[in-house]
Symmetry: C2
């Protein structure tokens, strides 16, 4: 196996190990074993476990960025439909691993943000990217008349980021997508109803 | 030091170590050092690290139970004031450690619920207790005319549990109470407005 592919293999398989067992629990030994490469490969490619952790976050982020392009930033679709698709994509991700792993960003925040300032700063940046994409989608919904001009898109976007993290966490605890589905239901029927109107959005689901 | 006080010391100081560094990162050595007791004390009092983890959750829960009695279940106060006090108590807790530690339940869920079925089951029970107390408070608010009878108190209570977990997590990432304050603001102005009325609650703050 050529050396550069060792690096890819360590990252791809290492992401799975970290996502399933947590960053602290994922030993270098577990990671190289999952990747099927010699232990020395790890230190050849990563100067520290922190450096490896940062690259794992990048790999996860690149996948999430694709989802964001296909949903929240997909101008071909009506804005609120994009928001629903983004939440449904999170549900699909939870389903893929039987709700065992939760969101990698949230797991890192819970366990590693106190230990590595670089990791914490990177997590803030990726949360910020998601928040901007959500605010972009909400603004489009306001512009399209799907939501009232009175909506504070930035604040609601930040609220969605944090509430979705919580819903992911409870889905992980319950091994069920119900917390994420409940979040979506309350978001669309109680938070995003048109300001100045008691009517919930007609087409929520 | 008598033996029974070693046990208390390990739990009290161990809770701080686990809360600050995560369960996986907290070694028995760190815990006994923080407690100022010999290493053998740990194995004398706890059959496993999992058993210790479960008792740490109990200690944290007993403190949270006091807060719940003084706020959500405190019939001497108007219901929505109790709910505000409960969220403010969470903010005070975040402030006490400069927003570094987050919520112990959330941290355990993120890092340990996949590894110990006993811990996961216990976390589900404690989340359930908080949810029941929130639903009790919301029902009292409906009865007192502070909220509309149309409110689905059980669903909104579950939504509050998960969204507060997310707000705690983002507060930990940002080292700021802003995410928790934003959650409170949106809860009181957008989720808990009287059903059938576009008016937000007048006295939110």
């Amino acid at each position: 196996m050529p050396k550069h592919s060792h690096r890819e293999k360590i990252l791809t398989e290492g992401l799975k190990v970290v996502h399933a067992h947590g960053f602290a629990n994922a030993s270098v030994r577990d990671i190289v074993r999952a990747a099927g490469v010699p232990q020395g490969s790890f230190t050849n490619h990563f100067e520290s476990k922190e450096a490896f952790g940062l690259e794992v976050i990048e790999l996860y982020r690149s996948r999430n960025a694709e989802t964001i392009q296909q949903t929240l930033r997909n101008d071909a679709l009506p804005p609120l439909q994009r928001l629903r698709a983004y939440i449904d994509a999170a549900k699909d991700r939870l389903n893929r691993d039987q709700m065992r792993n939760g969101c990698l960003y949230g797991n890192f925040t819970a366990e590693a943000s106190d230990h590595s300032e670089r990791i914490r700063q990177r997590l803030l940046e990726v949360f910020g990217e998601v928040r901007l994409a959500l605010a972009y989608c909400l603004r489009a919904a306001v512009k399209a008349g799907e939501l009232s001009p009175g909506l504070d898109c930035d604040e609601v976007a930040a609220f969605i980021v944090s509430s979705m993290q919580g819903a992911n966490l409870l889905s992980k605890a319950e091994r069920s997508t119900v917390p994420l589905e409940r979040f979506k239901e309350i978001l669309f029927t109680m938070v995003l109803r048109r300001t100045g109107s008691a009517e919930p959005l007609a087409d929520c689901g």
